[in-house]
Amino acid sequence: MSVPVLTAPHAHAHASVRGVMLTVWLALLPASTYGLWLFGWPALNLLLVTCAFALLGEALSLRIAGRPLRPYLTDGSALLTAWLLAMSLPPWAPWWIGAVGGLFAVVVGKHVFGGLGQNLFNPAMLARVALLISFPLEMTQWANPAPLGSAQAPGFMDGLLITFGGHPAIDSVTGASILGHIKTELSRGHEVAAALAGNFDRLDAAVGGMRGSLAETSAGLLLLGGLFLIARRVIGWQIPLGLLGSVALFSGIAHLVDPGRFADPLVHLLSGGLMLGAFFIATDPVGSPASRLGQFLFGAGCGALVFAIRTWGGYPEGVAFAVLLMNAATPLIDHYVRPRIYGRRRDGAPLEVKRKGASQ
């Protein structure tokens, strides 16, 4: 008899790319479900449109590249990208924001670079930034929370109207995000504390009752999902800790120096896309360093940039920009920061021959 000759190892841990994507998606599910409940039908419409167009872009790109459709369409990578993008969009944004974003993320963000695993930048964040720069109005209209079943929640038909029909009354039910509000108030000469008064409740921010992106509102649920990913060893603790740690550190120092101008660390940690970014965006392995030390540096760099952009930049939120900038720095980090190899020093030279008289 004859069997195909294949190289060792002959056993496998039975892990798969789809399994990895599925685990990340599961970790996102609590925050996503909460966001969908909080913002109702229009949010669900936007999510579905984004996913559909991302899949369309994936299929087209694979076709053009002459790659097999099935294994890549079903590996969950395009869906996860679209999901993450939708999570970071204003929940009542019109359908074409999701459509353009989904297509852009997959086609320009991923396939132009050579497909899965080849992209330099995080596709979801690339699309989000492209949308923000191109359509600043639509991308900064934050719907008031209107949980499904509540009086102010739009019905199914209203939802369709909001997403697909350009709801005329949308202005009356939207407002600025807390970070945007702080920025505006500061520019008007008010202090941070005054801006926060009556607009920001820490518990509310942790649970997620604030205006914000679709699934960025609940810092607590995102943290939970992130810890699940760390426990399942899908991501390391280095990037989240580096990112959250440096945001807390820099904002803490600034707040101590001038509490009137700089919001305290908790405001930073609980608002905007920070939790989503720290656990789900910056940790995307494709655009982050390979070594653990490199990952920590990457996270810390993201955090420093987030603080800098939020504080001095033109935009109230900086997670997407920060991640993209650090994505660009990843090849550099990878070049200089490598793990120490057994039997070698960190610089790659062999260890000195040390002789012990006897082992312990």
């Binding site: 069997v3 190892p9 892990a15 294994p71 899965l116 490598r338 793990p339 190899i341 057994y342």
Partner: protein, 491 residues
Amino acid sequence: MRLFRFKGGVHPDEHKGPTSDLAVRPLPLPVRLHVPMQQHIGVPAKPSVKIGQRVLKGQVIGEPDVGLSVAVHAPTSGTVLAVDDVTAPHPSGLSTLAVVIEPDGEERWCDVVVPIDPFQIEPEVIAGKVGAAGIVGMGGAAFPSAVKLNLGLSKPIHTLVINGAECEPYLTADDRLMRERADGVIDGIRIMQHALGAGTAHVAIEDNKPAAQKAMRAAAEPYPAIRIVGVPTRYPMGSEKQMIQTVTGLEVPAGQLSAAVGVLVHNVATAYAVHQAIRFGRPLVSRIVTVSGGAIAAPANLEVPFGTRVQDLIDHCGGYREEPARLVLGGPMMGVALAHTDIPVVKGSNGVLALTADEIANARPPHACIRCGQCSNVCPLGLLPLEMAARIRAGKSEAAADFGLADCIGCGSCAYVCPAHIPLTQYFNFAKGELAAKREAKRKGEYTRQLAQARRERLEREQREKKEKMAARKRAAAQKKAAETQQEAGQ
């Protein structure tokens, strides 16, 4: 005793249950033995028997050649039928020279050397006897053991580490050896300790083998210099560098042998072979082989004479329960996939596995690398397999070497966990081969250049010498002529 942790590692399903409680049974002599002349790392032995010649068990049938080489002995008594090529137990499936013996069934040993007290003789003599007995590392690497024992003469060895980890799934050959022949193993360890002048011997046994630990502890009881150390069950615990690190905390510098830090590692089966060779004068002619895997009807641990075909082992185990998806010689993590079963068992073969489709890595086409980093998390050397593979894929083996390719021990942990099913080990083996070929080509080119240079210099020298000779002759002729003219003028 304090243990140290090596980086990374994996926990593959053990699958040791089917054979760990099966006592070693001798395999009945097969109809023919195809004994390869190369069962070790290095230069093949030279056949020293003629076709038709009668041989006795333990008689030398292959003399060690010059260089790194060891003798090969007749695994049983019988007649030499042929000296011919057989398929080698190697991934290439190339052929190798073998002596074919038809057993006479009498199992008659040749005259053995009178036993002597090994502790009264010089270390060199012990190493010499171990070499003459054809003993090689039996954990799979098959490096001639005498060479390693001789290292004790040139470098002080303070610790002898004995590898009883048996970290490969399915295999229980070493487990059974330690449980059934602990006294022999301990005696072999004492002899090697004496040969090396090693003060301490640590026998590292993974914690999933409590019975072996107990048996070895009992046998080592009278010898305080030998310690039985329970080590965590983690692949690749049995790899030399990882085992040294676990037991002693020492790290072997890159490019050095473990002797550089005063430590040597030998396998438990090697220790037992040393015991047999020194105490009874019996050369290495058989070993314990685990026959297992989901496709084997009746898994077993068998004492197998070298040169027995894999098919004979499978037949003895009742054949297949179902059609195997893959046949492996060795363990599933580092073993060699066999193209067919007409392949002889050799000194380094610790297992024959017939694996079902469920048991093997499903041979689906590799997906794109998502840089998840699992490979570098599990790499016991701290390498970045994903970065090396990306470069090798792009045809840049040199760039991969810059990431430490040469330090890769080929344990396969990276490929085992890769969610994209990328055959990383194959990439690395390919690139290592390519780099070796390039080095060789460079060396040859350099040699050719030297030869050309030497030829040019020789030609130039000859030309010069010719010219000088010619000039000298001309001068001589001119002088002669002048002299003649003078003479003529004088007359």
